[in-house]
């Protein structure tokens, strides 16, 4: 009896210990790195870099090893990065501020890859203009960039969230939900967006091209890891812009591979790229990151997150988590800077110094 009990206790302890071994990323010099990404039009190059060997070639140049891992669930990939399983991860500026930075993980925007320029949109079944959304149930992934887009769009027509009801809906079920009569208004992203717009009786009343440059897709890396291992940053940036050059030149093999990996064909992928403002040239990415609009955007984002209670338990205001910009200015708490926009490495790529 007693030995059984001991066994049970020991087993329970082992199970929990197993779940808890994930320790925060150790900041020190190392030679092996892991970054993760999930499927999205602007991030397909990460998958191509891994399969084509471009990443390996650049890593070898700097004498390190970089593994690029695709994770099927976007939020899960950010969570994995936040708990220290990965050294970098692709995510939006908003989710970077709320999950890793809000969770105390000092994070640097290494590669500002693109911004959504129509990839996220608001669809109505009843009504032709955004103002008609008042009083409706709006299905969207709550607290996602869709929610942010809705909040920003509502401001433009003098409405606010209490004027409607947000129904949190899983993105996996968004298309099925859109097909039901219950759903009259929704906010989502591509490729779901174009799929739903193809249904009769739907109209697009607003999209992210109305707030250009506010939903930004970025390769975020752990600040400490980057500081101790500049070669990690150089290898990632080098490989990324080599791939960007391929895409910009319309390299059919590369684009087709990315299209297939995202479950569409070349034409479909090009259509998605049309509503994505890719920074193929590192110089434009640097200029965008250094522009005066970015601090304004991050303020919108921080305010949205704070208003929805996402900035963390102890957050007394939207300025709780500090965001540093390339010119050294800081939005929010200078003593708690956890998100840094840094153009150093992208500048190296622009100067051909890699």
């Amino acid at each position: 009896m007693n030995s059984n009990l001991l066994k049970t206790t020991a087993l329970a302890a082992m199970l929990l210990a197993g779940a808890a071994i994930a320790t925060p990323a150790q900041a020190q010099e190392k030679t092996s790195f892991k970054v993760c990404w999930s499927i999205y039009v602007g991030w397909m190059p990460w998958g191509y870099m891994e399969t084509s060997g471009i990443m390996d070639a650049w890593a070898e140049k700097y004498g390190i090893d970089v593994e690029i891992v695709q994770i099927n669930d976007y939020i899960e990939s950010i969570n994995q990065y936040t708990i220290g399983e990965y050294d970098g991860c692709s995510m939006t500026n908003m989710d970077a501020l709320s999950i890793p930075s809000g969770g105390g993980v000092d994070t640097t925007a290494l590669i500002v890859g693109d911004y959504s320029n129509g990839n996220d949109g608001i669809i109505l079944k009843q009504g032709e203009t955004l103002a008609d959304i008042a009083g409706q149930n709006v299905n969207l992934v709550e607290l996602s960039v869709s929610h942010y887009l809705l909040a920003r769009a509502l401001e433009t027509v003098g409405l606010s969230e209490p004027d409607l009801t947000v129904v949190s809906t899983s993105d996996a079920d968004m298309v099925a939900a859109a097909a039901t009569d219950d759903v009259t208004a929704l906010v989502t992203w591509n490729p779901l967006l174009s799929e739903i717009l193809a249904m009769p009786g739907t109209s697009l009343v607003a999209d992210s091209s109305d707030i250009p440059g506010e939903i930004i897709d970025i390769m975020m890396v752990n600040t400490d890891v980057l500081a101790d291992n500049p070669d990690f940053g150089k290898a990632l940036v080098g490989a990324w812009y080599e791939t960007m050059a391929l895409m910009a030149s319309g390299d059919e093999a590369a684009l087709t591979a990315m299209a297939e990996a995202s479950g569409t064909d070349l034409a479909g992928y090009n259509a998605q790229l049309d509503s994505t403002e890719m920074f193929f040239d590192p110089a434009t990415a640097v200029a965008f990151t250094e522009s005066a609009d970015l601090p304004q955007t991050m303020e919108f984002v921080a305010t949205f997150l704070f208003d929805h209670g996402i900035l963390g338990e102890g957050a007394p205001s939207s300025e709780f988590v500090g965001v540093a910009f390339p010119d050294g200015s800081v939005y929010g708490d200078e003593a708690n800077v956890k998100l840094r926009f840094d153009t150093t490495y992208m500048q190296m790529a622009a100067d051909g110094a890699l």
């Binding site: 009990l5 049970t8 206790t9 329970a12 302890a13 929990l16 210990a17 779940a19 808890a20 994930a22 320790t23 925060p24 939020i75 969570n79 936040t82 708990i83 709320s98 999950i99 809000g102 969770g103 105390g104 993980v105 299905n139 709550e142 607290l143 996602s144 969230e161 209490p162 009801t165 947000v166 129904v167 949190s168 809906t169 899983s170 079920d173 099925a176 939900a177 097909a179 039901t180 009569d181 219950d182 759903v183 208003d307 929805h308 209670g309 996402i310 963390g312 338990e313």
Partner: protein, 262 residues
Amino acid sequence: MALFLGAIPFLGLAGVYAAASSARLSANPADKLLPSFEQMGTTFWRMATVPEVRTGDLTLWVDTFDSLQRLGLGLGVSVLLALTFGIAIGFVPHVRSALAPFLAAISLIPPITVLPILFITFGLGETAKVALIAVGTAPVMIRSVAQAVLDIPREQIVKVQTLGASVWQMVTRVVLPQVWPRLITALRLGLIPAFIFLISAEAIASTTGLGYRIFLVRRYLAMDVILPYVAWITLLAFLIDRALLLFSRRIFRWAFLEGEAL
């Protein structure tokens, strides 16, 4: 002594958690993965007592009430279905021949896989959530009630038949009384899948509920909300299960004469 022995694994689990949590928190005080018991307590207390800024609701109680309502309605529908179809299948040979194979096949369909069909049929609102719970739990409950009817000794039926009982009398006076405790057992076993389907339904499209909250705050890795909610769900399920068992023992003493009930 039994109470003490029973507590050891719980204490062991809590101890290991506390150690792992403090290790991570000492490395990064803002770590979200394994919050301390104190953090979780504070958050849970806030959700139970402080109205939410945007809605003015006490989050925990609204979530709990809405979830339990869905659970109750879903299981209620299942109980009704189990009683009517279970007794019909168990008691009437023709109904059994007609429905038993169909039911056996239907009960094997994982309800989550037919979600889009449920959406089209029941919409995305409360009905769909209740329907998912009912679809997920009813087939198994019908089958166990039917089995309970079949387990009634044939002699009893023959005896009341010779005494001139009608079919209705046989059902209400012989079958039903013996089915009740078995129905409660089926209900207790159905509680686990019912909770799973409830939480899945709330994760898909919802504005309130225990499952909704967990999937919502998962977006920013708020384990200080998720872990207490998981413990709360476990406690609720445990209490409902115990209450059903106590009720059954009190009302149907005769069904618990032999053996021990878990």
